[in-house]
């Protein structure tokens, strides 16, 4: 029935009402994303991509149209049901990391588990969080607070937090916006690894360089999808980092 699509948007509209003005942020988007895809959602500011991202992330509900996530219609659910969907099926990665300050990396990662309704002991929470942190290259930094970590490390903590509940899809909103280019490529490397492990990733970005690490680019303008195409010259993060390293050593000699 869902044709194997993990995410299926059918003629989704979103209208905001600010005073007398009606803003049509999204005007009829239909989109299907299959499990295991790595999609970059692109567009200038005001194109409606952030609004679409909020709907995809179950943070917002469409004004009209339907959103099927993993075969279930989530467009009409109430706040608490949406919170449960976010908790179990979606992992968020934000531009500004959004880690809790004065809270260790481990506790940040444990957060979605705490709200998952599973009654886990502190030891179990710790074990799970450390496992995910280790898989993302942060072993040994579990007790660091965000202020003690670099931007790249903070974003890794955020990715670990997104992965802790084994979500169906990871939503990344400008994940490299606050990072330098090298760290950005590293983060893309992590996303590509995760994608190879079968995790579906939807990433909002306005940089074509970054979008080229994805498999598919969806470009939006004025609330509608302008183009939807597969990436032809896909970049590989591991290779790009090696290139940077070689060019740096070339400069040195």
């Amino acid at each position: 029935m869902n044709n194997g699509a993990l995410v299926k948007l059918a003629d989704v509209h979103k209208t905001y009402r600010t005073g007398e003005m009606e803003v049509h942020a999204v005007r009829g988007v239909s989109l299907e994303i299959r499990p295991g895809e790595f999609v970059a959602l692109m567009g200038a500011s005001g194109s409606g991509k952030s609004t679409l991202m909020n709907i995809l992330g179950c943070l917002d509900r469409p004004t009209s149209g339907h959103y099927m996530l993993d075969g279930a219609d989530v467009s009409g659910l109430d706040r608490d049901r949406l919170a449960d969907i976010r908790n179990r099926k979606i992992g968020f990665v934000f531009q500004n990391f959004n880690l809790l300050p004065r809270t260790s990396a481990r506790e940040n990662v444990e957060l979605p588990l705490v709200y998952s309704g599973q009654r886990l002991t502190n030891a179990q929470l710790r074990e799970k969080a450390d496992l995910v942190l280790g898989s993302i290259g942060l072993a040994g930094r579990e007790d660091h607070h965000p202020s003690q970590l670099s931007g790249g490390q903070q974003q890794r903590v955020a990715i670990a937090r997104a992965l802790i509940n084994d979500p169906e899809v990871v939503l990344a909103d400008e994940p490299t916006g606050n990072l330098d280019s090298r760290t950005s490529i590293e983060i893309m490397g992590i996303f590509q690894q995760l994608n190879e492990r079968g995790i579906t990733i939807i990433m909002v970005t306005h940089e074509q360089d970054i979008a080229n690490y994805a498999q598919r680019n969806v470009v939006m303008r004025d609330g509608v999808v302008l183009s939807d195409r597969a990436v032809t010259q896909r970049l590989n993060a591991t290779r790009e980092i090696q290139n940077i390293a070689t060019s740096a050593s070339d400069d040195g000699t």
Binding site: D80, N87, Y115
Partner: protein, 387 residues
């Protein structure tokens, strides 16, 4: 630091409640011991007031109680274990070259049992002394010190209105009464001697009656009233020419006063607790605003509104409870200091501590609810975008 300042409101509030209620309860307990020192199961009968030519005299003013009335009570009212006829006067007493103005009480030999007032030294006068109107007396500690200094007064002669009385004993000190009268500034002699040799007259100011069983007090009181009305030939419908009070009524009146004081002090202290609560509400509102992003993140990863509500409520209650505990400690300290330096009796009960603690926790819930509610109602998108 900010939390400490916020908690300070609660600390002061709870501390004030504990100290104020402690002072009130202390005063009440003091009144109660003094009432108890009147003796147990005691009924007091005062003579008067009578209306003569439209002028009403106060209690004890008109000589309506006779020695025979007391004897009738002793004889006819069941359950009576002690009766003391009382006359009172103030007069100059002297011994050697010392003299002193004091109160002279005439009583029966039962008086010392009724008032539960043992002697520190010597012996009380006997029923025989009363029958014979012997010139003997016992004196209070204050009178003894004023007249005899460090000398032992027992066996000495005390001149009262130029009549020599032999001092049989010295009473144990009782201290100040509820009205602030020095109860040890006293000379007590047989009422017969007082009437015959000091005051003159045959009227009693009042009669003290002690009942053996506390449950019979009401019945005995009624019997005394009807007996006296009959003896005084008071027709039905006319006012009594005497007044009967039992000790419990006196105690209730006195404790009522101190209870009102306790409630009043507690209410004033309660106001400061409410002010403390408003402080908590203020800081929680600031905290919700400052942590909007955190709330957004928690919601994004799956927190329900109720989870956020609970989190902020727990923070508010923790703040107010910690303040409450510190306040209780401060309050106990403050009332200690007051009782040491101001000599105010204070009494801190477990129940007042428990109530103060529960109240401070309740303040946390009450004033924490609105900010917590506000946090839980935030829109996650807005909250995440908040700078």
């Amino acid at each position: 630091m900010r939390s400490v300042l916020t908690a300070l409101g609660i600390i002061i509030g709870v501390g004030a409640v504990i100290a104020m209620v402690g002072i009130g309860n202390g005063a009440k307990a003091q009144v109660e011991t003094q009432i108890a020192s009147l003796g147990q199961n005691v009924i007091l009968i005062f003579s008067g007031s009578t209306t003569s030519s439209g002028i009403r005299t106060g209690w004890g003013g008109a000589g309506t109680l006779k020695i025979e009335d007391a004897e009738a009570i002793r004889r006819e009212v069941p359950g009576v274990i002690g009766v003391s006829e009382e006359v009172v006067s103030t007069t100059q007493v002297a011994a050697g070259n010392q003299n002193w103005f004091t109160r002279v009480y005439g009583e029966s030999a039962d008086y010392f049992d009724i008032r539960q007032w043992p002697l520190a030294d010597g012996a009380p006068f006997t029923p025989q002394d009363v029958r014979s109107a012997n010139k003997v007396c016992v004196i209070g500690r204050t009178t003894a010190t004023q007249v005899y200094g460090n000398e032992d007064p027992v066996g000495q002669i005390l001149r009262i209105k130029e009549v020599p009385f032999t001092i049989l004993g010295v009473l144990t000190p009782k201290g100040l009464s509820t009205q602030g009268v020095d109860q040890d500034d006293i000379v007590i002699m047989p009422y017969t001697s007082a009437m015959k040799r000091v005051l003159g007259g045959t009227n009693l100011r009042n009669i003290n009656v002690q009942i053996g069983d506390g449950r019979q007090i009401e019945a005995a009181q009624q019997q005394i009233i009807s007996l006296l009305r009959q003896r005084h030939n008071i027709r039905p419908g006319r006012d009594d020419d005497f007044t009967v009070r039992n000790q419990q009524e006196i105690a209730e009146a006195a404790t009522e006063t101190s209870r009102v004081m306790t409630v009043l002090l507690g209410a004033i202290a309660g106001v400061s607790l409410v002010v403390g609560g408003i402080g908590i509400m203020n800081i929680m509102l600031v905290s919700v605003t400052e942590r909007t992003r955190e709330i957004g993140v928690r919601m994004a990863v799956g927190a329900h509104g109720s989870d956020i509500l609970t989190q902020f409520l727990i923070e508010a209650v923790t703040l107010s409870s910690v303040g409450g505990v510190i306040g209780i400690i401060c309050g106990i300290g403050a009332s200690r200091v007051l009782s040491i330096y101001a000599h105010w009796p204070t009494l801190i009960s477990i129940s007042s501590i428990a109530i103060a603690f529960l109240f401070s926790a309740a303040v946390g819930v009450f004033f924490g609810f609105y900010p917590a509610r506000k946090a839980s109602a935030l829109d996650p998108i807005e909250a995440l975008r908040y700078e």
